[in-house]
């Protein structure tokens, strides 16, 4: 069973993602801040990460940079989810190594599950 780590401080988003991804057949772990998220990365070695941008303790972009600079984690696909994008922020996220960038308010949880499936499929073929 593929393992997804959701790093998200908002309880509504975290529960929706957990529910829809569990129903799609994934094992889902949730971390509610950046620090906990990085610890969970090392603990559960996920196949994909859903990463919120505005997180307590360590910001999402810093979490992403730390993932990409760690040889054991750097190949894990990271889908960044937020509502706080400017074009400069998008460029910054791409440069930091985001695999995909999603605007939460413009996508339904069901569509998130489709994105996750597509990203895992692409990672498998790479």
């Amino acid at each position: 069973m593929k393992q997804i780590l959701v790093i998200e401080d908002n309880a509504v988003a975290a529960n929706l993602y957990r529910s829809v991804l569990s129903a799609a057949g994934y094992h889902v772990d949730v971390a509610s801040d950046g620090e906990e998220g990085l610890a969970a990365m090392h603990r559960c070695h996920p196949d994909l990460v859903l990463l919120d941008l505005m997180l307590p303790k360590i910001e999402g972009i810093e979490v992403l940079r730390q993932i990409r600079s760690d040889p054991a984690l750097k190949s894990v696909p990271v889908v960044v989810t937020s509502n706080a994008y400017t074009s400069a922020r998008m460029d910054e996220l791409r440069a930091a190594g985001a695999t995909e960038i999603i605007t939460k308010a413009k996508i339904t949880p069901k569509e998130i599950a489709r994105v996750v499936a597509a990203m895992l499929n692409a990672a498998k073929q790479a």
Binding site: D9, N10, A11, V12, A13, N15, L16, S19, V20, S22, A23, M54, P56, S82, N83, A84, K104, A105, T108, P109, K110
Partner: protein, 124 residues
């Protein structure tokens, strides 16, 4: 416009919020009541903490909390509330405390109005 007595949100807006929550719950495999209670309690807590942060002048923390509340309503497609909260967030980020406090109060009235109606009647 159909108004709920004593409320900020109109009946159409409440119906739309209920429909959006129902659709998102169905798509996600959650019960409607479970999602409604989660959205309600999460937003309520975030707004209470944002008010404290705003009152103590911690606008960075207030903006973060309001951003989270806006995101929760946005993901549930309760768009008018999400946009009002976004306005309060941006004002707080700009350091405009009075305007941010006013915008937050307006959004909070809308939240209480929608939440009260969805739970069976406007909250006082």
């Amino acid at each position: 416009m159909n108004k709920i007595p004593g409320a900020t949100a109109n009946i159409d807006e409440v119906a739309l919020a209920a429909e959006s929550l129902r659709q998102i719950a169905d798509e996600s495999g959650m019960a409607f009541e479970e999602l409604l209670d989660l959205w309600s309690s999460d937003t309520s807590k975030l707004l209470a903490r944002a008010n404290v942060a705003m009152a103590t002048g911690n606008l960075t923390e207030a903006a973060r909390l309001v951003h989270s509340a806006s995101g929760a309503s946005g993901i549930c497609k309760i768009s008018t509330l999400a946009e009002e909260l976004k306005t309060a967030e941006l004002l707080a980020k700009d350091g405009r405390r009075d305007a941010a406090t006013e915008a937050l109060a307006k959004a909070e009235r809308r939240f209480m109005s929608i939440d009260g109606a969805l739970h069976g009647g406007p909250k006082e």
